[in-house]
Amino acid sequence: MERGLVTFQKDIVPLLKTHCLKCHGADATKGDLDIATREDLLRGSHNGPVVVAFDAAKSVLIEVINHTKEPNMPKDKPKLSSESIAKLTSWINDGGPYAEPLIAGRKPKRDPTKVTDEDRQWWSFLPLKDKAATPITPAEGAKKIDEMLLAKAKSKGLTFNPKADPATLVRRMYLDLTGIPPTPEELQSAIRNPQSEIDKLLASSRFGERWARHWLDVARFAESTGFEQDYDRPFAFHFRDFVIKALNSDMPFDQFVKWQLAGDEWEPSNPLALAATGFVGAGVFPSQITANEVERTRYDAMDDMLSTTGAGLLGLSVGCARCHDNKYDPIPARDYYQMLSTFTTTTRMNVDIHPDGKITPAITTMAKDKSTKPIEGATRMMICGEGYDPIVMHTQGGPFFDQTFFLKRGNPDLKDGEAKQGFLQIFARPGDEKRWQWSPPEGAKYSGRRRTLSNWITDVDHGAGALLARVIVNRLWQHHFGTGIVSTPNDFGRTGNAPTQPELLDWLASQLIANGWKMKPIHQMILLSQAWQQSTKRDAAKEAADPGNELFMYRKPQRLEGEAIRDSMLAVSGMLDSTMFGPGTRDENSKRRSIYFNIKRSQLIGSMVAFDAPEPLVSQGARPTTTVAPQALILMNSAQARGWAESLAKRVSDVSDVGQRIKDAYRICFSRAPRADEIASGKAFVESQRTSYAAEKKPNAEALAMADYCQVLLGLNEFVYVN
């Protein structure tokens, strides 16, 4: 080492600085190799170590500069002189010591294989500040929210906009909580006391249909396998129904999570708990697997389960640690594989639930004659767990392997010992495992590993429960305001955005837990707050002071999602069929709410995709809001939009006076009366269209003209934006 230090100063520094450092530490870190410090050099590249101290013969660096191994280095430059190579070789044989970093002041990067107490200081990993929070009333909670927001806004001298007028407020409540505008009658009765309307809407079954859709994005829910044949999963809809039911009954969120991960292990004979496991199984899976793909495919399937759990429940890119230690968050690859092993024997299965409650396997293979025939009176359900017969695809291998291994670079050919179940070290101290460990009863058909995971993930004091709570309250906030307190809802790690009001987020999480993880009290607090109830009135000074609206001192109108737009149009046209649950359809002419569209990955519903419904492939925390021509084409030309317009026209045409019809249509569509100029331009339009139709001797010129008019109303910004 001593000798090495001397050479380092004299020969090695100039060599490395001239030939290597630019790409590997200074301007870039190509191949993830950083040589600025000895620690980083020894950690190597994404392909593994490049320097073995005291052993130049085993050091890849020497091979690549000798041009005996690719990529030859220095890249696209002449080979180093043999003298230089000899110097580097002997320096490595002397241990490769550094007297100082090659870049002054550079500190070694965090060792990504280890998790330190410092790593645990990241804001989202900290324990909740108020561990012993007690539940407070919604009104008190609303006050608290406003106080915290105002405290932060004070520095910029901003306060809330005035409260929105009652009609706007009621309309906002309806669209936010149910995805459908109020009828004129509902508006009339609610306007006297908008506050009490919140409870009514939260209790309405439409609430679950609206909010379940948000969760289905997170769960990358679809009802087909994806890949080559994209076979239907005809019994997967039970998961969607579970989410609606759970939200409507205000199932505590910790239970909601436990059931989704391990409903079969928590309540093996409860169909609703079984249906919940659709969360784990909603991902894609190939239907045709060659022999040399069987193992990789299985790791891909488990990765999908784990990545969705990580991003969807914890807001962490756990999946990033599949190929290498996560560079940003303290998630070593070892943690990934230990957590992955939770799902070793987890597969998709169909079961039959008999009228007497008995549950039997429904064998499902690609050869239909070998599959279980439908059983009279029984309900077939796709679940994802252990213990029944896995659904069999065209594969040259089995449904799973008995063990999960640590893999180098995510490659199943590079196994590095068996991975036994474990959790993220950020939220697990040595010895804590037994807190969560659950062993199934004698004779059970499942391993208990997913239930163990669910214990860890909901454990506020010792596991990941605090983060779990932060992530879900942020999602609630996001859907009520358009942006979360953390604007990257699936990323609470270092690459995500920091919370704009960390104390508020923490407080909401504590309140969720204090309320027994029930979410409706949180919704109530938010909706009762001034923050939520303020008007969308424009205030140039506020926009200038806070263009991103991070202080929430004004409110931006939100565009409705595709589902809510369509549901609202069905509703105002009087065509909405409010049948709940059961198999969905891909027929765009369906009159049921959009959450009941069947989601086949290769045949997504065009009108939903046009309005930014995501491809259900990975967990999605936030949809973009695009404004593109195909959306306009749908409203201008689709048979559905025209049909809704005709139906709405018919609905208001009981009276003969066009002015009155226009007034009625405005009340139905926009929860308000039209202004005089709006009535005037409406009447002029209807008359002009009527004349045009009459000139062609159309027998129903008046009805057609009114339909043309109603179609315009449905296309207005005011219809698709919530004020």
């Binding site: 894609v284 022999a291 492939l617 809001t625 404004t627 959306q631 084409l633 025209r642 315009v712 934006y721």
Partner: protein, 478 residues
């Protein structure tokens, strides 16, 4: 508002104007490509100088995996060893481990063409007249021996489902030159032989905003949904509707904190209105002059369907469409280039369907001065084995280790051959080109730097070409 009051330039600059408005969260935070406009399709200026000068891409995706040794990779040694066993062959290389035969020479005759003396199989009598404009990469290899993962790999750079495809990345990176047509168009087999495996995921936008996904033209019936107004609405009556819509929308505009987003929505209706006439006009080849129809082979029943698609591709390029992907062949087996059985019948058929149209496309783009602006890519998801797949009429099984992709136009070096396979065409051995290398090269051809074209997702700056240091095949650009 009978005449649209804004010039196209105004429209794009208003941006919001155009029909922009990914929500701020989507664009300002997630778009690390650095566009400042709200319009997701505002044309952007490419920044890379090492690559080509293409403005548009036409990718002829020979679906199913054409055999390199029967098309563009001439292997005399294979003929010499015809019928011999391939020692050490892993039967799991292809799809059918139980049908492994001996080495099989190409049943097609090869001859040299052009100044470059390029060896071509007799399958492509017309395309081979263009060899001096074509640039061949013989050393491609991929990571899967199965259609769907290999298709995903070729289209999205990952064998798994759900990543953005090349066309999405290119339109994300460059925007669109047309304000009345989709930026990225996909055409599949119109002869009822199915879609490529994995269908729409091959042209999906993955985690990029969904506006960047490919617009798939339905091969029968109306190619795009909702382009025709309901029967009662004449253009005049629909115009009147849009005028009222704009008037009512505008009256509420100024009071809103999202004025530009609402404005964008008004413009989107105008764009939609124009698209109703512009799109059918672009897709309609009927009014092309006779000599052009003949050039493409529209008069020949065996290739007329592909002729029409190639001609549509040219018309779209002329009108500013950025990326066009055109699938030759349907799903698999005898429906596509997937010649497991009867390699002679299979490849003869698909070559005959596409040879004249593809040759005509090159000729036509060149005579219009568009070839330098248009990159043509020809290739499938993998290659085929030099050994036979045993059958009454033998075929060839999948081969992930080697295949040939050629490019033409867009400033690529004509008559150039890059990389080599071994002497029997089994494995790529010299200057190997991975799919990521190929993608980096395609991006370079349109002036995009694959290392800089990123999108933040799941906490990482994702890119098409992954993290394993892919290389642009610079030689392609001469």
């Amino acid at each position: 508002m009978n005449n649209h009051p804004f010039s196209r330039r105004d429209l794009l600059q208003r941006a919001g104007g155009g029909f922009g408005a990914l929500a701020l969260s989507a664009l300002m935070e997630r778009d690390s490509h650095g566009t400042s406009s709200l319009n997701p399709f505002a044309p952007k200026t490419p920044t890379l100088t090492v690559g080509g000068k293409a403005k548009s891409v036409i990718w002829i995706f020979t679906n199913g995996g054409p055999s390199q040794v029967d098309t563009w990779d001439y292997k005399p040694e294979l003929a010499k060893r015809d019928g011999k066993a391939l020692d050490g062959f892993d039967p799991k290389t292809g799809f059918f481990p139980g049908s492994v035969g001996g080495l099989m020479k190409s049943p097609f005759k090869f001859a040299q063409h052009g100044q470059s003396g390029t060896w071509c199989s007799e399958l492509f009598p017309q395309t081979s007249r263009h060899v001096d404009k074509m640039c061949f990469i013989h050393s491609c290899w991929t990571g899967s021996n199965n259609h769907s993962p290999a298709l995903f790999m070729m289209n999205t750079g990952a064998t798994r489902m759900g990543y953005p495809c090349v066309g999405s990345w290119v339109t994300y990176g460059l925007g669109c030159e047309s304000d009345s047509l989709p930026s990225f168009v996909v055409m599949s087999d119109p002869k009822n032989r199915g879609l490529p495996k994995g269908s729409a995921s091959n042209w999906g936008a993955g985690f990029l905003p969904s506006v960047y996904q490919g617009t798939w033209l339905k091969p029968s019936g109306k190619p795009i949904d909702n382009l025709d107004a309901p029967s009662s609405l004449t253009p005049q009556r629909q115009r009147a509707q849009l005028d009222l819509l704009a008037k009512l929308n505008r009256s509420a505009l100024a009071q809103s904190p999202i004025e530009s987003e609402l404005n964008a929505r008004i413009e989107s209706f105008e764009l939609a209105y124009r698209m109703q006439t512009a799109a059918p006009e672009a897709f309609d080849v009927a009014n092309e002059p006779e000599h052009i129809k003949k050039l493409y082979g529209l008069d020949k029943p065996h290739c007329a369907h592909f002729s029409a698609q190639c001609l549509m591709a040219r018309r779209m390029v002329e009108r500013g469409v950025r990326f066009i992907q055109l699938y030759s062949g349907g799903m698999e087996n005898q429906q596509s280039w997937d010649g497991h059985n009867d390699i002679i019948g299979n490849h003869s058929g698909f070559a005959a369907e596409s040879d004249q149209p593809v040759a005509a496309l090159i000729t036509d783009l060149e005579q219009r001065g568009l070839l330098d602006d248009t990159l043509i890519v020809w290739g499938g998801e993998f290659g085929r084995l030099p050994i036979s797949q045993k059958a009454a009429k033998p075929g060839r099984d999948h081969n992930p280790h080697a295949f040939t992709v050629w490019m033409a136009g867009g400033g690529v070096r004509g008559g150039y051959h890059h990389g080599e396979t071994d002497e029997i065409g089994f494995k790529s051995v010299v200057d190997r080109v991975s799919v990521h290398d190929l993608h980096a090269t395609i991006l370079a051809a349109v002036g995009l730097n694959h290392e800089k074209l990123t999108f933040k997702f799941q906490g990482l700056d994702q890119r098409l070409t992954g993290v394993e240091n892919p290389q642009i095949v610079k030689q392609v650009f001469g």
